[in-house]
């Protein structure tokens, strides 16, 4: 299920800025271990951000996104005190969802 994300969401006027850190190895499948064997790929493939029922961002990622990914984006129409929810889905079928209250 993975470790918790760290999400920050801040409203300024009617624009909410969301910053997300995710705990994930983002293994490319190209690296070798000490024994010289390839380490299998394992990375987040899709990310989805929702505000209430509204999708505010969806993303598809490849293994070239850095380990422990960080992303930020902004959307209009969010209100303080409401929640933003982030979900990720990885190449092994793992998924994790966390949410934060907009400050």
């Amino acid at each position: 299920m993975g470790n918790p994300m760290k999400i920050r969401a801040r409203a300024e006027g009617d624009v909410v800025e969301v910053k997300v850190l995710m705990a994930h190895v983002m293994e490319t499948g190209q690296r070798k271990n000490q024994a010289g064997e390839l380490i299998p790929a394992w990375f987040i493939q899709r990310v989805e951000a929702t505000y209430g029922d509204r999708v505010v961002l969806s993303a598809q990622w490849g293994p070239a996104i850095s380990a422990n990914p960080f992303m930020s984006f902004k959307f209009k129409g969010g209100a303080k005190g409401e929640k933003v929810r982030i979900a990720w889905f990885d190449s092994k079928g793992d998924t994790r969802t966390d949410e934060v209250i907009i400050a």
Binding site: P4, K19, M22, A23, S66, A67, N68
Partner: protein, 273 residues
């Protein structure tokens, strides 16, 4: 933060000044641009330090009943009394009567995990060489509880002064096929390995600037490293065999470095190459 930036700009100016005298203005401009861009790179990474994830994980480990005794670490005494976390990291390593040794953060946590939770040492440090290990998470969590406080390693026991003196001797101790010691890279001002700026641990200002950042997320490792992990790797880079985790050499070096950096206000966790 302002002081750190000012220091950096002083360092950059110093490098550039020397370069101008020696090799001409064009070369210096190029070098400064490189350092400026690296500074920009670091600034862009500051917001959203993945080490924050390890702080979260460490807090979870601290408050979760674990080990054969199913106890949490909340009664662990890091030197300021059972359960007192605020400022404890900033004053380690220190002498502990109950252990009869000078201990650093890691070895004190091992002590708590074995005594309070009933773990073996092997269980306590399990996976410490791998990214995201429990020990790195716990140290990160403990260190953040000293954020904003000055580094002030304990000076209450004569064995602490002895450890610091041993640490200084080890700092200068050259050995191995490349004749390296810590001082080879860390006893001169404004030096770099490739583009990597090196702290000069003989200069308190430079020592502080470096030490206030540990534990740090290391982008080259995609992982948080504690100072202990970093020192063990420095010794590996010097082409020595592996030093034991929590061993006296590692504790003594930390004692010396923390003393050199006394007064530096902790910003942990930092972000480093």
């Amino acid at each position: 933060m302002r002081e750190v930036r000012r220091l950096r700009s002083v360092v950059i100016r110093w490098i550039v000044a020397c370069a101008c005298v020696l090799f001409g203005v064009a070369w210096a401009a190029e070098d400064r641009r490189a350092l400026d861009e690296i500074q920009k790179y670091r600034d862009m990474l500051k917001d959203g330090n993945p080490a924050d994830l390890m702080e979260l994980k460490g807090e979870g480990l601290w408050t979760t009943p674990r080990g054969p005794k199913q106890a949490t670490l909340e009664a662990c005494d890091l030197g300021l009394g059972p359960g007192v976390l605020e400022g404890a990291y900033a004053q380690l390593p220190r002498w502990f009567d109950d252990a009869g040794r000078v201990l650093d953060t890691e070895s004190r946590l091992i002590h708590c995990m074995t005594t309070l939770q009933g773990m073996t040492t092997e269980e306590a440090i399990q996976g410490w060489t791998r990214p995201g290990s429990d020990m790195e998470a716990l140290v990160t969590f403990v260190a953040t509880k000293s954020r904003g406080l000055p580094i002030r390693p304990s000076q209450s026991h004569p064995r602490e002064a002895e450890m610091s003196a041993i640490g200084e001797a080890l700092f200068f101790r050259r050995a191995g096929p490349l004749d390296f010691s810590c001082a080879t890279c860390h006893s001169l001002d404004a030096r770099r390995i490739r583009l990597q700026e090196l702290p000069n641990f003989l200069d308190p200002a430079s020592a502080r600037e470096s030490m206030i950042q540990w534990p740090a997320y290391r982008v080259s490792q995609s992982a948080v490293w504690t100072l202990e992990r970093r020192l063990i790797d420095c010794i590996r880079q010097m082409r020595a065999p592996d030093a034991d985790y929590g061993s006296d050499v590692i504790v003594a070096l930390q004692m010396y470095l923390q003393r050199q950096a006394s007064g530096g206000v902790l910003e942990a966790p930092g972000i480093k190459r």
